[in-house]
């Protein structure tokens, strides 16, 4: 009861109106880019829906990552390994077991596996901060990468593993692959993003979330109000890793294929980037960052051989203009507009 009341009261904030508008657009996209565009211009662009669907996954990944970065003040360079682990759990099971399950089973197992890995490795990590934390997480990511590469009998080595279209909630659909991706899995992923966002929103606005932020701001003071700092860092790491694995598992069927490259540390760099791009001090920052980054990267790749450079320039430019991220930039602009219209009203 109280939870619903809390969610309802947050709807009264202006920021949420923008997100609702965005939500409506996102719901319409699959039909906008196919049937409606076809009726208007004769061309279809189903690929746009797929790109946005990737964006949903990176939105979840960004939220998970921001639990550590924005809310705990810890930068991990190994999250790509956990993301990949989520996908590989599903792929390995599909490859080596005679039975296939509905996607939700794989998601639960992937999440649990990543949580377990983080629980164990986290015992080593929790007492380290900043650069040491970064290096140790980098090590985790690269160890996972090596395992995916070397254990070829399990993981397919450099060839990777195929991920066929799974059953969703026990249902299979007799449709084309394109239809499944753009009009079925798209909505499934959107729902998954909304669900994860709600759960993580509750977590960061709970006493636990505030405790994490307190630890981030001042470890000594946190100690001196009786908070067991290591324990909460450890828990944050597990939660972050678990949701990352969840995102990775959902990514698998969208991509159709998983290879060890996904676990490589440069991919971890991208997640840091997209979280900062969106604005890590805002809850919705990573979601927006995840989607915008996916879109920019996909189209940059299509434009030029030097797409990495283009991407880098765009991102550096955005960070100079909006150091608090895209969401931060929007908040600042909104604030200025609100102040100006207020002063105009009061006859300035």
């Amino acid at each position: 009861m109280t939870l619903v009341a809390g969610l309802v009261s947050s709807f009264r904030q202006a920021r949420t109106y923008a997100l609702v508008a965005l939500g409506i657009v996102l719901l319409a996209v699959p039909y906008l880019v196919t049937d409606i565009m076809k009726a208007l211009t004769g061309n279809q662009y189903p690929f746009v829906a797929v790109v946005i669907a990737y964006g949903f996954i990176f939105g979840i990944y960004g939220l998970a990552f921001n639990l550590l970065l924005g809310y705990s003040g810890l930068v991990s360079f190994g999250h790509a390994g956990l993301f990949a682990l989520g996908a590989y759990v599903q792929a390995i099971m599909i490859r080596h077991l005679p039975v296939q399950f509905t996607l939700e089973v794989y998601v639960i197992l992937a999440t649990a596996t990543c949580a377990a890995v983080c629980a164990v490795y986290g015992l080593l990590l929790a007492r380290r901060v900043s650069i040491f934390f970064g290096i140790l997480t980098l090590a985790l990511g690269m160890v996972l990468y090596s395992l995916f590469l070397k254990l070829w009998f399990l993981t397919g080595g450099t060839d990777g593993l195929r991920l066929p279209t799974p059953a969703l909630l026990g249902m299979t659909f007799a449709v084309t692959k394109e239809f499944w991706l753009t009009k079925i899995y798209y909505y499934y992923l959107l729902a998954a993003l909304v669900l994860c966002a709600i759960v993580i929103w509750v977590i960061v606005n709970s006493p636990f979330g505030k405790t994490l932020q307190a630890i981030r701001d001042n470890e000594t003071r946190a100690n001196f109000i009786g908070v067991r700092v290591y324990r909460y860092r450890w828990l944050a790491f597990i939660l972050s890793g678990a949701f990352t694995g969840l995102a990775g598992c959902l990514w698998g069927p969208l991509n159709g294929h998983v290879t060890p490259e996904i676990a490589y540390w440069t991919f971890s760099g991208e997640i840091v980037f997209l979280t900062v791009l969106g604005g890590f001090s805002y809850f919705s920052g990573p979601i927006i960052g995840g989607m915008i980054f996916t879109i920019i990267k996909t189209y940059a790749i299509g434009l030029t051989v030097y797409w990495s450079f283009v991407l880098g320039v765009i991102l550096i430019f955005l960070l100079f203009v909006m150091p608090r991220g895209l969401v931060g930039g929007c908040m600042t602009v909104y604030g200025k507009i609100a102040r100006r219209s207020h002063s105009r009203k009061s006859g300035a």
Binding site: T2, L3, A5, G6, S9, V202, I203, N205, S206, P207, F208, G209, K210, T211, Q213, A214, R216, D217, N218, T220, R221, A222, N223, F224, I225, G226, V227, R228, Y232, L235
Partner: protein
């Protein structure tokens, strides 16, 4: 005695920061520690509160030997401090600073699936303490005047409902006008709760006005201790404090 130390020692190589100190605090006492800079006052508090481990000696708090216990344990028992260099949660509002402390006190700091905003009891208590100390609820600590930031540090310590409170230079860096307000607030609140307070202070006016007992420390040792009048008359203390 709520707290005693027995031959407490902390050396940093050649520097004898705490040198066989037998320190004691009585129940409900308002006590000041004075001494020149570098005398070892803060180190003594750091050792007693658990930030540093002593080389030798014992610390007995509420009749329990806490020499080897963790900071977490000491806080749970009610041994609380504030800091010389202000330590607050910079990214959180003063209201949240206190709420985090209250949640920790109540063992609720780990609750993940309830919204903090819905917890009216905690919020009300936090607002009450903020009002008592005269601190704004929403202004981020970095935008507060220095005196209010120090008060926030102290208020956070208060929110833990301590059994013994160490305040390390609560008025340093604060304007003279604000100093009295701060100490008056603290001492009144403490006296109302029957809470023993140990102040490390340099401002002698404040020391003599509010302390029931004064401990003078010099070069890691207790030079003299006694009531304000006794300390005022003691020539050794005067020499050390005038020189230091």
């Amino acid at each position: 005695m709520i707290l005693t130390t027995e031959s407490l020692r902390k050396h940093f190589g050649e520097v004898h920061a705490v040198d066989d100190v037998n320190f004691r605090v009585g129940e409900k006492e308002i006590l000041s520690i004075i001494g020149p800079n570098g005398a070892g006052k803060t180190t003594l508090v750091n050792v007693i509160t658990g930030l540093l481990k002593p080389d030798k000696g014992k610390i007995i708090f509420m009749e329990k030997d806490v020499t080897r216990t963790s900071i977490y344990e000491r806080i749970r028992m009610g041994l609380v401090r504030s800091f010389q260099l202000v330590q607050t949660f910079e990214g959180l509002s003063p209201l949240d600073n206190l709420r985090v402390a209250i949640n920790s006190r109540e063992g609720r700091e780990g609750k993940m699936f309830s919204l903090m905003e819905r917890d009216t009891a905690v919020k009300d208590e936090a607002i009450k303490i903020l009002d008592l100390f005269g601190i704004s609820k929403d202004v981020l600590p970095r935008n507060l005047p220095h005196g209010d930031r120090k008060l926030l540090d102290v208020a956070t310590a208060f929110a833990l409902k301590p059994k013994l409170l160490f305040l390390d230079e609560p008025t340093s860096g604060v304007s003279t006008r604000e100093k009295t307000k701060i100490v008056e607030t603290i001492v009144t609140a403490a006296r109302n709760e029957g809470l023993p307070v140990v102040l490390i202070e340099h401002d002698m006016d404040i020391v003599f006005r509010y302390s029931e007992r004064i401990v003078a420390i010099h070069q890691g040792k207790i030079l003299f201790e006694g009531k304000p009048d006794e300390v005022r008359e003691n020539s050794e203390v005067k020499k050390v404090l005038l020189v230091g």
